[in-house]
Point group: C2
Chain length 710, copies 2
């Protein structure tokens, strides 16, 4: 059996507190049968598609890891939804430990670990140790420091976190208040938080877990500020677990999601650390004189950032695919109302229609499904660009850097905002049961939300994309008077636009919204039109930068959507692997058309306003979308199957591969610990004390605690 | 001091587990000072505006109730964010009991109780008893049944719930499976769940609280199905609290929000109830023969539904106003980055700009703020329409019914989808701290979400609005050949459109987007254009109803937005109270313009496609919005103050009236119970057991439990 068709295991679920007779089954055709029928209508092989999209290597890795992970009690998800904050944190910590043991035992590679984390999907106390802490110790240290700090960290003998953001200071690193003042007499740095807003804040793992922190602080030597530098600060006694003197540390309290992680705060009161604890690969302080030695060249962190953002876009594919899988399957199982126009066989108990048959549901879900694919192809291209750029940089060639950095900013913004919306769209399409934690979509949404804000706030970071596009636009404009510039997809669409600003869409029938190049050109024209408009406002109308921020956001979105359409189109037109499988090619052509047409329709005012699209064509576009939705209806379940998201990751009663939704919802309900308690509801009795139950149960814990390792 | 300017009390918060020195203050100008400066720039009196919008009576009631509520430990909100499911449910139950006691003691009116519930904002076990259960016992019972059931229910001697929805059946009442078969021999009804999907599901209070349930079931007498009828079914032993024989009952488990409520499930296994337990005001069953006596006339439930939906729209005002208050105040306190174009006084520590100064933040928040106002005026008009209609119905005049029902469906959809999005927009505008539970916005969002689904799924209910608009459109079309129809705002805009389908917007300068009637006409033209297009697809192209559901959704949205613009415009143009206060009129005129222009811009493709707006005007529209945002910047804080939402309801460290945000965030963090526990993080130690702490603390509960009533 494929790894993504197996039902989710439950290793140590809470006991059933409600006993439902076994003989009761759902009425009518079972969910399992309904999904079988859906799958029988596939016009292509879901397995072939899974191999094409995810790659055989990834599918093999997934199967191999699931065999291990699904059999580990520490990674079991069946209790998660019922846990309070402290229990959830503890559950997360237990997972972290087992993860370390297992990764050593099984000799997991970096790729294995990354996928295992994605599948287990439980952010916890070691998260920042394994990413930013180790990364900083790798990239910012001298050889001596690697021995001192990196080696024990790699063995988890010390656990670290990464403390940059402060209570009053978010993305703006230059606004940080924490100081590190060098004292040449004792050869120590004095780490200090001069105010309340200087408190380190949000750092994952800082709250309860870490014993060391990388602290970003203003280096001060010889009375002068030298810039923001990383320092390694011991923060907790590894034995007593109490904060060391001068450190005030705590978890920052419950959040909308991520409650299995201890995001923390820390105030430093003139804490002294040795000279060697300033991470000194790029900048140094002379121990005797306190002389500051500047970094030889600006750190090329753009490369790493583009890599992180490629990860975010690729992750957006998994995120959206997961939500779409749940919603599409459940809407194929769920039936509601009868079709107004359909004849009824049995007047007494008319057969209700599968919810997925309703055009409004299709209109909400299928664009989400195809957007997942667009981000898949875009993420893939971003990795290729990243690798090309790294190779170039190794040769001293920086010609791609600005373009890749700009596009990665725009795509990060576009992908995260779109993915968050997609999860919520899918959740609402599941109607009432979408609101239950059994859907798996609520926690997915809540845990995803930080991505919209971190690694560059998705509403503000668009400025970086637009700034580059401004430059390119101006350069091409001048080039016609003799300048020169690097050729990229961006220069290409801007050139086309400048050559023919009054270009018109040639569509005469809805069927004309078909040719990939035509759709790519349309998005290029619209992006260039918006860039040109915004440049005019800045350069000719002399508007302030601040007053055109909304324009810049639109420019960045238009550019990013162009890239997504372009990357998807490239696969359709140029991918030989795809061309060799006509069934796949055919359905992906439809998915591409829906993605491009839906995205165009959502932004139609800009295509209309530029004069590219006319009213008649706008109506044809809407008709085309209706046609595509209807034609994709029978392929929806096979398509989400092809995402190959295993039940273990879905963790959803609604999205199960086998469609056995209703018994799963009943099982979920029956295990609610609240059901073990009887409450006193007499309004004359002043206290709400619990009746008839032992205290342990009344405190929000299931009756089987003695057997639990929690 | 006004009730809405007082800081929130904390009666029994968890103890501080992290001690932060008192002398540490936020850097720079304090939040309190920043908000004072904001308030000093007001072009109008926030108090006058509060009186105008909320009404003096409402403000007085709020002050009177807050004096009581804020001093009740059972209504204290300071612990809520830290509680697990069971504790939260118990907290809710305690609130319910105290609420009943207090409402009797203080002789609260219906209006008092409604507002008190809104302020306490903790949905719990008695919620459905107080609404649907009592309402059903009032409206569906005989006099005998009122004595038997309603009287003890009013005294809370029995606690009920309302069980309609089933596991496999949501909004479609006709799809319910539960049967009530009459047995004339014993004069009993046999209540039965024939399958698993027949399980009652979602009913609030059913899970752990209620001892009685109104069960909607298929009445079967003499072997025939007679329709869906309400039955009163005893479900739990009031003393032992155990389910009575044949009832399988439980809480359905954790949800995304509403976890203080015990939404429940129930399966009935041939449960016999006496003849008198069928609620028999409209239909009866002859006890001896089992003859079924049909209701004399169809129940006029449309009236009640329009009232419920007017409540939802009015509630959308409070919901959006609350979120906007938090975000606007926090964005006035928070500073980040320096303005690119601004000169810097101190190069070493440049003054960061208030986040509210960024145009992108304004573009996200100010439209939310003015949309709250639009729903205020619209909710007010819906109540007026409802009362007019009730008066008409009493005279046998049903002429308004269809119009009011249709508009209430459309507005319910529009208001709930918009309000949900508004909360999330505000949360994201608070960036990182918006993700903390201390923001108050996450729980607000999660608790609001069910409104999008219940009382008619907001994506599907739009069909009811559109169906009526189709009828009106067709009637007017035919009337020109001799028919007649009732005159309403709808006929008015459709007539105008039909007279001049090629009407053009007359705007030449951005300043022309000013005249309320012009903006109302624009929205009327667009709505009628969409109705006409959809009618053509159905009537001429003979499209199936299902295939045009997306069009119907658009039609309903366009009509509802027309109503919102119209109701707001009516206040600006016709309200004498407003005209008498030029300062208020002036700012509300700007708010109206922003609401109308922003809503038009968000839907610009439809205004462009109809040919009403041209490209040049579209650009002017965008410029106009930029101008309005800049001009409203200094009025933003005074405007949210005017919503008069008290800190107690905001329950937000970020939204406090006094702007003292950072100490509040630190206080919130310091009380996290997790901070009382030290964890063993040694990866070689297999269990994640807790170190150094008593067991009670390790279970997610604060150390001060002995003093707590929880």
């Amino acid at each position: 059996m494929e790894s993504y068709t197996r039902p989710q295991k439950q290793i140590n679920p809470f006991p059933r507190n409600v006993q439902v007779p076994e003989h009761l089954k759902p009425r009518g055709t079972s969910g399992t049968k309904l999904l079988e029928i859906e799958r029988s209508k596939a016009s292509f092989s879901s397995h072939d598609m899974a191999v094409y999209i995810r790659g055989q290597e990834t599918l093999d890795r997934q199967a191999r890891l699931l065999d291990v992970i699904e059999n580990e009690e520490a990674f079991d998800k069946s209790r998660l939804a019922y846990l309070g904050r402290t229990e959830k944190f503890n559950y997360g910590l237990r997972k972290e430990k087992r993860f370390v043991q297992l990764s050593q035992e099984k000799e997991w590679t970096q790729a294995d670990m990354q996928m295992a984390e994605e599948l287990i999907d439980l952010p916890a106390g070691f998260g920042l140790h394994k990413s930013m802490f180790l990364e900083t110790l790798r990239s910012q240290t001298t050889e001596e420091q690697k021995k001192l700090f990196l080696e024990p960290a790699l063995k988890f003998e010390i656990i670290g976190c990464y403390a940059q953001t402060e209570l009053g200071h978010g993305s703006n690193v230059q606004g940080l208040e924490t100081t590190a003042t060098y004292d040449p007499e004792t050869k120590e740095f004095i780490m200090h938080s001069p105010s309340l807003t200087a408190s380190k804040w949000w750092a994952g793992g800082l709250g309860r877990t870490a014993d060391h922190a990388v602290v970003m602080a203003n280096l001060i030597t010889q009375g002068k500020r030298r810039g923001i530098i990383p320092f390694l600060v011991p923060i907790r006694d590894p034995v007593t677990r109490k904060p060391l003197p001068g450190r005030i540390i705590g978890d920052i309290g419950p959040k909308i999601g991520y409650n299995s992680t201890d995001n923390g705060m820390m105030l430093l009161d003139n804490v002294r650390i040795p000279h060697v604890n300033m991470l000194a690969r790029f900048s140094q302080v002379d121990p005797d004189t306190g002389n500051y030695i500047k970094p030889k060249k600006a750190q090329l962190s753009y490369g790493t950032m583009t890599f992180i953002r490629a990860n975010i876009v690729k992750n957006a594919f998994v995120v959206i695919a997961r939500a779409a899988t749940v919603a599409v399957r459940y809407c194929a199982v769920r039936r509601q109302f009868t079709d107004r126009d359909a004849p009824q066989m049995d007047e007494r108990a008319p057969a209700e229609s599968q919810v997925l048959n309703y055009a409004m549901v299709q209109y909400r879900l299928f664009p989400v499904l195809v957007t997942a694919l667009a981000f898949h192809f875009t993420g893939r291209q971003m990795y290729r660009d990243y690798e090309q750029n790294q190779a170039n940089l190794a040769k001293g060639d920086m010609s791609l850097l600005a373009e890749i950095h700009a596009s990665s900013c725009g795509l990060k913004s576009y992908a995260t905002i779109t993915a968050a919306e997609a999860i919520e769209t899918c959740r609402r399409a599941c109607a009432g049961h979408g609101f239950s934690s059994a859907s798996g979509l609520g926690s997915q949404y809540c845990d995803f939300l930080p991505q919209v804000t971190w690694e560059g706030d998705s509403y503000m970071i668009t400025q970086q994309c637009a700034r580059h596009l401004f430059k390119v636009f101006r350069m091409i404009w001048f080039q016609e008077k003799g300048h020169d510039t690097e050729e990229t997809v961006t220069t290409d669409y801007i050139r086309k636009y400048i050559k023919n600003v009054d270009a018109k869409c040639a569509v005469k029938y809805s069927g004309d919204f078909h040719n990939p190049q035509m759709l790519v050109d349309a998005f290029g024209h619209r992006a260039a039109y918006l860039i040109g408009t915004a440049v005019r406002k800045r350069d000719i109308e002399k508007r302030t930068w601040n007053s055109i921020l909304v324009e810049l956001y639109r420019v960045s979105m238009a550019h990013s959507q162009f890239l997504a359409v372009k990357n998807f189109a490239d696969a359709i037109v140029n991918d030989e692997e795809l061309a060799a499988n006509p069934a796949l090619h055919n359905i992906l052509q439809s998915c591409f058309e829906l993605f491009a047409c839906y995205t165009m329709e959502q932004n139609a005012s800009e295509f209309l306003s530029s004069g590219y699209l006319n009213s008649k064509q706008h109506e044809l576009l809407r008709n085309k979308i209706d046609e595509l939705l209807a034609s994709m209806r029978p392929q929806a379940v096979p398509l989400v199957d092809a995402f190959a998201i295993p039940d273990y990751l879905l963790n959803s009663a609604l999205g199960r591969y086998d469609g056995d939704v209703y018994p799963a919802l009943v099982d979920f309900a029956s295990r609610e610990p609240l059901n073990a308690i009887d409450f006193n509801i007499d309004v004359r009795d002043d206290s709400s004390v619990v009746m008839n139950v032992p205290m342990a149960v009344s405190l929000g814990l299931a009756g089987d605690r003695p057997n639990s390792k929690l």
